[in-house]
């Protein structure tokens, strides 16, 4: 018990800057006050989120053989893994312009029919 208290007091609990997280939270228009515990928890949750997103994307990704994590792995996670779907707008899948134009043509053909 004593050791735990000391560790918590000495070691840093979070590595992300709490002040920056607060700034982001306050940029939300309907938020007026945030207590210290809520701020700490959000900061900690963001760290867990970063780890979870990175690991999920890496494990399901294509670069596992050669040890790389690329953008497309993240975009896939956003599209496929349930809790990450709120990210689809900011992590869109990249497609070639050629493919996009083709799908656009197909859509137009369907509209004509």
């Amino acid at each position: 018990m004593e050791n735990k208290v000391e560790r918590a007091a000495n070691g840093k609990n979070v590595s992300l800057p709490v002040s920056r997280v607060k700034l982001i939270m306050k940029s939300s228009p309907d938020v007026s006050c945030i207590n210290q515990d809520a701020l700490f928890l959000t900061t900690k949750a963001t760290e867990l989120f970063v780890q979870h997103l990175a690991l999920t994307s890496y494990n399901n990704g294509s670069g596992k053989q050669n040890g790389t994590l690329s953008y497309s792995d993240l975009a896939n996670t956003a599209e496929e893994a349930e809790p990450f779907q709120f990210l689809t707008d900011i992590l869109p899948k990249k497609i070639l312009a050629r493919d996009y134009l083709k799908s656009l043509e197909e859509m137009e053909e369907e509209d004509d029919n």
Partner: protein
């Protein structure tokens, strides 16, 4: 206030370090992937805030509290974060209390005067505080005895 749009980004160096810690050693994370994760993290903060805020509003409170953030995590289907978050919050509270007690002790040593932040403390903390003070007094008494002996 956020004056520049960059103010709403999280520091890249810290994000990179957290990613590195999560992945096996030696994994190469592309620059684009790092930027994407950083942006995702900012969006996560906003999403969590808005969820938590709706819980606070339902309860007719203006201040977001720890319970609101926990409820938000459940709502967002990040239940897996709940146990580590509970643990971290407990450690954080203990750390805060330790700091407070340490600074209070300093103050007492200086002028034997009570702090002005009494109102902020929860009842539980005050009880702990009393126990702590008793311990200290015991300690002081022992010290006095030693002095006498010497």
């Amino acid at each position: 206030m956020a004056e520049r749009p960059e103010d709403l980004n999280l520091p890249n160096a810290v994000i990179t370090r957290i990613i590195k810690e999560a992945l096996p050693d030696g994994v190469n994370v592309s620059k684009e992937a790092r930027r994407a994760i950083s942006q995702a993290a900012s969006v996560f903060v906003l999403y969590a805030t808005s969820c938590a805020n709706s819980f606070a509003m339902k309860a007719k409170r203006k201040t977001l509290n720890a319970g609101d953030v926990m409820s938000a995590m459940e709502e967002m289907e990040f239940e897996r974060f709940l146990p580590p978050l509970r643990e971290a919050l407990e450690a954080y509270k203990k750390g805060q209390k330790g700091k407070k007690e340490a600074s209070e002790q300093k103050r007492k040593d200086k002028e034997k005067k009570n702090g002005t932040e009494e109102n902020d403390k929860s009842r539980e903390e005050e009880e702990d505080e009393e126990e702590h003070m008793e311990d200290e007094q015991d300690g002081e008494n022992e010290g006095e005895e030693e002095d006498v002996e010497n």
